[in-house]
């Protein structure tokens, strides 16, 4: 999963700690999400989207490999 969290945070000129405080999570969590090491829960993703006044898919997008896998699964489903 790719995300634009770092870019959006820079646009708002917030530090990781500031964003963490606004979201009620730790700075480590923000760092792990930004670096793609941790995928946030749906509720945290909604909180992030709401804070930046965006849709979730404007911030989080699946990787190309994930998209390929989904397309393959859909193609297989269509066969049966």
């Amino acid at each position: 999963m790719k995300n634009r969290l770092r870019v959006l945070r820079a646009e708002y000129d917030w530090s990781q700690a500031e964003l963490a405080e606004r979201l009620g999570v730790s700075r480590q969590t923000i760092n792990a999400v930004e670096t793609g090491k941790y995928e946030p829960s749906l509720s945290l993703a909604f909180k992030i989207a709401s804070l930046f006044e965006k849709q979730i898919e404007e911030i989080f997008q699946p990787d190309e490999a994930e998209v390929d896998n989904l397309q393959k699964l859909n193609a297989n489903d269509a066969k049966f």
Partner: protein, 131 residues
């Protein structure tokens, strides 16, 4: 500058663990170094239970106050510590059958430091993954 309450926070958080540890060590010292009646020995052996319940309540409350990544890290730490503990108990049980371990060398009381070590090992591995 950090306020006094935030400076003391780690000490307050560690208090239940310290209390349990102190009761455990005192109970062990009393049982190892004194000739007491058996009913008193049993009572001393059960003495660390109340501070452990206090520690457990504090640990659950602490976990509930964590955010989702911190909870996952602790879950992954448990996922490392629990199988390692099972492995140690299994090997000790088999070694006991194989060579007859002396209780002075290996018994349940020797397991405790290993359990804590496995848990902290799990924590280090999990935090490294998300840093």
């Amino acid at each position: 500058m950090k306020s006094l309450s935030s400076k003391l926070r780690p000490v307050v958080d560690a208090l239940p663990l310290l209390l349990w540890g102190i009761f455990y060590i005192l109970a062990r010292l009393a049982l190892e170094n004194s000739a007491l009646d058996s009913w008193l020995r049993v009572l001393i052996a059960l003495l660390p239970i109340p501070p452990f319940i206090y520690f457990l309540a504090a640990a659950v409350s602490h976990i509930r106050s964590m955010d989702e990544l911190e909870r996952r890290v602790h879950l992954e730490a448990l996922a490392v510590a629990f199988p390692l503990t099972l492995l140690l108990v299994m090997i000790l049980g088999l070694m006991e059958l194989a060579v007859g371990l002396s209780p002075d060398d290996w018994s349940y009381r020797h397991l405790l430091p290993y359990l804590a070590t496995f848990y902290f090992l799990g924590l280090v591995i999990a935090w490294k993954r998300y840093k």
